[in-house]
Amino acid sequence: MSNIIELSGRIDNNSSAAIEARINTVLDAQPKTLILDMRGVDFVSSLGLRVMLSAAKRCRKQTTKIALCGVLPQVEEVFQLSGLSAFFPMHPNCEAAQQALA
């Protein structure tokens, strides 16, 4: 069973701290995998990207495999233009992400 965190709305100055705390709580248990369900996320700010990259780096350190699923095109473009796609394997939906990480 994968750990799936469902995110929604904007990952920005207002929401980043709470999201960082949620992710860290899950990562504290050293899970094998972590899937961030991005279907409901319509905006990620630069600060939001930093929080997500910190999480991805922490995953790599503790050998938790991370993946994103259902990333909206405008959000994917932000990851691409920031040169951060390599840190976040992306899948169309959670099932595909679970299979890929299994």
């Binding site: 630069s46 990259l53 780096k57 350190k61 405008q74 473009e77 932000v78 233009l81 920031s82 040169g83």
Partner: protein, 319 residues
């Protein structure tokens, strides 16, 4: 970068262009440094994806000297956070020589790139014992360079035996409670940090680690905390080239740091790093050929932060 070939050709051209430039003098204020071969000239470039190219004396080792300063600053930020670190050293350019004895209105050193600031930083990362502090620093730089680095004990001893001015600075800092009682421990840390032996390829790999958000692009080792890379690069841009920093930012526009042994390290964020070794220095203590190589590369490839080909924020572009 898709292909390094075009860059390689230009680096070779730049190398040949400046090879016969014999302006400047080898530093002698630390007696051991005066033994360097003034003709040595090496250039290395490493990209954030781990591609690399070197020309000339890129295997020639020299002491890192002041190029240790932004790296020590990064470690201090990681260990103590921004708030505490900034109580011990400012981030304001001083416009003065690297060895100036001058503090700001809060009795802090102006920035971590002048000796006073670097000594304050050394006190923050000196560890529980002289051995532990130096070992931690050496390990971190080795991780960034991707090979085991060591300390030139002769240079370190030479600095310790003749560094009266740095000793005076340390005691001044002690007087203002910028550093603790263990002044000798702090100075040992500082002199050892400056005496780490590197070649231009090592420096470029360390720079590429900074460019690659703190991860070594070849070994993938996580070396520096991503949250403080920006802090270190910022002071490199504003204060990294001693009292030439303003002109450097104006002409070259890259975060960089020079050392009196003849090294220069420049970083293009998220893309690449350039390292030059050439021991002849100008009167501000910067490598003459080091500055020329970086200037030429910046002009040819639009590396300046405010070059018209550069967009300020990729993030804004995605909106």
């Amino acid at each position: 970068m898709k292909d390094l070939a075009a860059l390689k050709d230009y680096i070779l051209q730049v190398y040949e262009r400046h090879r016969s430039n014999h302006e400047g003098q080898v530093a002698t204020y630390i007696p051991e440094l005066g033994k360097a071969n003034p003709d040595h000239f090496g250039i290395s470039v490493v990209t954030a994806e781990g591609q690399e190219f070197s020309v000339g004396d890129s295997q020639q080792e020299f002491t890192i000297q002041s190029i240790c300063k932004p790296l020590a600053f990064l470690m201090a930020l990681e260990q103590h956070g921004r708030e505490t670190t900034i109580k011990h050293v400012g981030v304001e350019p001083s416009g003065e020589a690297f060895n100036s004895i001058n503090l700001d209105r809060l009795n802090r050193p102006f920035n971590p790139m002048v000796n006073a600031g670097a000594i304050s930083v050394a006190a923050l990362i000196k560890g529980d014992s002289p051995e532990a502090g130096v070992d931690a620093f050496l390990k971190r730089l080795s991780l960034a360079a991707g090979r085991d680095l060591r300390i030139d004990q002769a240079v370190c001893a030479s600095e310790a035996a003749t560094g009266f001015r740095n000793r005076a600075i340390a005691y001044l800092l002690r007087n203002f409670d910028m550093i603790d009682d263990q002044v000798d421990h702090t100075l040992h840390q500082y002199f050892s940090q400056c005496s780490v032996l590197v070649n231009s390829r090592d420096l470029a790999m360390i720079g590429a680690t900074l460019a690659n958000i703190g991860d070594n692009p070849r070994t993938y080792a996580e070396v520096f905390d991503m949250n403080h890379i920006k802090d270190a690069l910022s002071v490199m841009l504003t204060c990294g080239m001693y009292d030439y920093s303003g002109e450097w930012a104006y002409n070259v526009g890259l975060p960089a740091k020079s050392g009196v042994a003849g090294g220069v390290l420049a970083v293009v964020n998220r893309q690449l790093s350039i390292a030059v070794y050439s021991p002849r220095l100008d009167d501000r203590g910067n490598s003459v050929r080091g500055i020329k190589v970086c200037t030429d590369l910046a002009e040819e490839y639009g590396l300046h932060a405010f070059d018209f080909t550069n967009f300020g924020s990729n993030f804004i572009r995605a909106l």
